[in-house]
Amino acid sequence: MENILEVKNLSKKYTGFELKNISFELPKGMIMGFIGENGAGKTTTIKAILDIIKNYTGEIKVFGLDNRKDDKKIKEDVGVVLDDMFFPEILIPNDINSIMKDTYKNWDSNLYFKYLSDFDLPKNKQIKTFSKGMRKKLEIATALSHHPKLLILDEPTSGLDPIARNEVIDIFQDFIQNEECSILLSSHITTDLEHIADYITFINNGEILLQKTCDELLGKYGIVKCTESEFKKMDKSDFIKYRKTKYEYEVLVENKKEFSKKYGNNTIDKITLEDLMVLMIKGVK
């Protein structure tokens, strides 16, 4: 399978924060979910891919091209939603159309206005009169209207109500009906990702903690809930992390089938990405 995006050993130093050797690959036709706490490095990674930040080391390839050398060519085919970064808010959606018409070769005004009407967005009102959800929808409409091959979306569903999130996720799934197209999206709302992401990349403190297919994570990993005495019997190598709550131990295991074979009758819960995030970050080994 061909990769649409390759990040190799991406590192970047700030005072007080460091991105350490981030590497991942996104194949064509797939959705990768980028999860992690606020400030974990998701946005920094995305900014490096888009060349918004400079002075990083490592290699980034988009469509097989170097992101710095072939910057212009790449960006013709990338659609972007960035967290809180957009057109100046005194402009109106109509303005965005006339600006983008002269910015992207493939800008499709009809498609853009179709999204606007699907999203119930006014064409003639200044962006500053929009609610947060409306802004997000406008950003998404803008990102999709030049028929991009890769969508890079930083928190595209934040600020959207459940109905709107549903709509947007439908649009994303429509987007990858074309096998040449891929999506990299970061989100706090992990349930969105559980449904549609093919790969999960979990980043914490500037480092990648975990990288798996979503199926494997949700299918194999599990949370064992047990008492202290049961916990004491466990081999340290059989679990990833644990967390002690007031009434029980929560233990994250990598393979719930094998675990239950070895230890028998423990309650093993199916895991959600949220559980996984909390246990990986707050849990201890």
């Binding site: 996720i169 429509d174 093919d198």
Partner: protein
């Protein structure tokens, strides 16, 4: 085609898809030679990831229920109904086996077990 996905059952989604398609094939709801929805369409309709449906189809191909015709799609294969039937029987046997193990551990008589089975069968009707 109806496929019902449960997000809380703990059974991996690809397995749910696989099993339900198998049942439909064995029960002739899906005829041999019929074209299945594409990996991407199915993922969209079921609102799951592409890899999930891809896994399900790949396993179905492996088990001989589905044929992959490159650049055309996935077709329901000519399934040997006896083999498929055998497979289902094996599965039941496995489940009954664990039921019996639990029964024996707890001194539950064969008679009680039979009664339970009768009741369950009646309920189904």
């Amino acid at each position: 085609m109806e496929i019902i996905i449960s997000n809380s059952s703990g059974v991996p989604i690809y397995e749910q898809i696989k099993e339900q398609i198998k049942v439909k094939i064995v029960s002739n709801e899906l005829q041999a030679g019929e074209l299945l929805p594409s990996i991407r369409t199915l993922a969209k309709d079921l609102r799951c990831s592409v890899i999930t449906t891809k896994n399900a189809y790949e396993e179905l191909v492996k088990d001989g229920y589905v044929r992959n015709v490159p650049s055309k799609g996935f077709y329901v294969a000519e399934v040997n109904k006896e083999v498929a039937h055998e497979e289902q029987l094996n599965k039941i046997e496995g489940l009954l086996d664990s039921a019996v193990t639990i029964a024996k551990m707890n001194n539950i008589s064969k008679k009680t077990m039979n009664e339970m089975l009768d009741i369950l069968y009646e309920e189904e009707k």
